[in-house]
């Protein structure tokens, strides 16, 4: 089995403080991996590291897929929803790799965009400004953008935060479809029920990895308790880490 990603003693962080500490392991091609852990456990940081927005403090990430085949869904709070742009244009951004600065958006591209909007259940919303969408509709639009990106590796940062059950179910169906198409998916999640039901593999992170493997084994109470304790130990005056020092 080839790996979509391989972490080699990876440490990511901000201003020398590690947010992800000494992570080793591989994400298999076509994996459906849930990334769970308490707040501040480094889940978003790990995704940023994978996308390349953050450079490792130590260690490395080996990519089995080209950077152009990675799609990244940031937390929704990072988007300026007051900007006057339509749902159609927001979704169309998913074609960036193909269209870039000046590439033409022709008939076939327009068809793809409209199909994606229909797939996520937003037909009729094309001309609406994104500021008028509800949280669920906005997330649907962002999933339509992911559809257009047509990526081999899909990274989702809290895709279901504050969404209702119906929307979550629809979006989970999209994720299942991507999984069936052999795409690799890593999703940051907080709802253990969803993880248990839909994600075969889980990485429990509390800055350092706590457990990584089949979901049923990872999400045991003793692991979750350990993760919570580990995350409470942030120290402004921490000494230089000597573990695995080369």
């Amino acid at each position: 089995m080839t790996a979509a990603l391989r972490f080699r003693d990876l440490t990511l962080g901000y201003d020398r403080h590690p947010a992800v500490h000494h992570l080793d392991g591989a994400v298999a091609d076509g994996a459906l991996l849930a990334l769970v852990g308490p707040n501040g456990a480094g889940k978003s940081t790990l995704l940023k590291g994978i996308v390349g927005l953050l450079r490792p403090l130590a260690g490395a990430i080996d990519h089995g897929v080209a950077p152009s085949e990675v799609a990244y869904l940031p937390q929704i709070a990072e988007i300026d929803r007051s900007f006057p742009i339509s749902v159609y244009d927001l979704v169309a951004m998913g074609l960036w790799r193909r269209a870039g600065l000046g590439g033409r958006i022709g008939k076939s591209e327009r068809d793809t965009i409209e199909r994606a909007i229909a797939t996520v259940g937003l037909p009729g919303f094309e001309g609406r400004a994104i500021g008028t969408l509800s949280g669920g509709q906005m997330q649907r639009a962002l999933f339509a953008r992911l559809l257009l990106q047509d990526a081999k590796l899909i990274l989702l940062d809290e895709p279901f935060a504050s969404l209702d059950a119906g929307t979550v179910a629809d979006l989970l169906d999209l994720i299942r479809r991507w999984h069936a198409e052999a795409r690799t998916i890593i999703a940051v999640l907080h709802d253990y029920e969803v993880v248990r039901q839909r994600f075969p593999e889980t990485l429990l992170l509390a800055r350092s990895p706590v457990a990584w493997g089949p979901t049923g084994e990872v999400l045991r109470p003793e692991n979750l308790l350990r993760a919570r304790r580990m995350c409470e130990a942030f120290d402004d005056h921490a000494a230089v880490c000597e573990e695995h020092a080369a």
Binding site: V51, Y72, L101
Partner: protein
């Protein structure tokens, strides 16, 4: 009784300096207003203000060396504006200070320096001329310069349009698919400087930003769509220019302030009557809809 022709057409038909001023504000509208829209949407409305003060010492140095020379003052303005934009950006990234604080520090120093330099050689009249411009005295070279700036602005905006919009809406996504974010931001800042320098020749360093921001902010109250907002901002900027020139002609008022005041009246009207997020929706919501 004055006819409409006397009020609206005759000033331009009879006097060449009015026609020149008309061409000048048309060129300014095409360049500055779209830039203003992006400044507003990026919450940088006051950045334009700070950067235009920063242009003063550059233009003043040009004036000190060469007098009222178009090339020297333009070059000085562009260099000083770029230096402050880059300087404030670098300080903001290298230190704990946020960009607005750095800009404030840089532009206050620049403004004081600029006034000092002008008064070393020129008179108070020269200073007024530099601070408030001379839209009624635009010569051929200046008009060509303004038209060139507008052309460059529209061309460059067309090229960086997609990354610029994306960086406003969803910077994290843009960084994940492309490295064009930072370069397009720099090009954008360069366009801001370019248009402020252009505006400086017509409206002076204190009012140039008025034709950039006021029509853009007014357009926000009428359009919920970026393209329409930009087209409307250009139209409103031009209407302000024409209206201000006519006011200045009929009432013998200084032209630069007249243009900005007309833009201000348009802004106030848009604030009160505009359908998108204005006061009208707040106080006269109308009966609610079915769905």
């Amino acid at each position: 009784m004055e006819t409409l022709y006397d009020i609206f057409i005759a000033p331009f038909a009879e006097f060449e300096f009015m026609r020149r001023a008309l061409v000048g504000v048309l060129a300014l509208s095409f360049g500055a207003a779209p830039i203003g829209v992006f400044l507003m949407l990026r919450r940088m409305s006051l950045t334009g203000d700070a950067m235009q003060h920063a242009i003063l010492p550059g233009a003043a140095l040009g004036f000190l060396i060469a007098g009222f020379d178009l090339f020297a003052m333009t070059l000085g303005g562009i260099l000083a504006g770029s230096a402050v934009a880059i300087g404030a950006g670098v300080v903001a990234r290298a230190t704990e200070l946020k960009e607005d604080a750095s800009l404030a520090a840089f532009y206050l120093v620049s403004l004081a320096l600029g006034v000092l330099i002008v008064s070393v050689r020129g008179s108070n009249v020269d200073l007024l001329h530099i601070l408030f411009g001379s839209v009624l005295a635009l010569d051929d070279a200046t008009l060509i310069l303004l038209a060139a700036f507008a052309t460059v602005t529209l061309g460059a905006l067309a090229v960086i349009w997609r990354p610029l919009v994306l960086e406003c809406v969803d910077p994290g996504f843009l960084r994940s698919v492309s490295r064009t974010g930072a370069p397009s931001h720099i090009v954008f800042l360069a366009l801001v400087v370019l248009n402020l320098v252009g505006g400086f020749h017509a409206l002076g360093t204190l009012l140039a930003v008025g034709i950039m921001m006021l029509p853009a902010i007014a357009a926000r109250f009428w359009a919920a769509d970026l393209t329409r907002m930009i087209v409307l901002s250009v139209v409103l900027a031009f209407v302000s220019g024409v209206g201000g020139l006519l006011v200045s002609y009929h009432f013998a008022a200084p032209s630069g302030p007249a243009i900005i005041l007309v833009a201000g009246v348009i802004y106030a009207g848009s604030l009160a009557l505009g359908p998108v997020g204005g006061l009208r929706r707040r106080f006269v919501p109308g009966r609610h809809l079915e769905a």
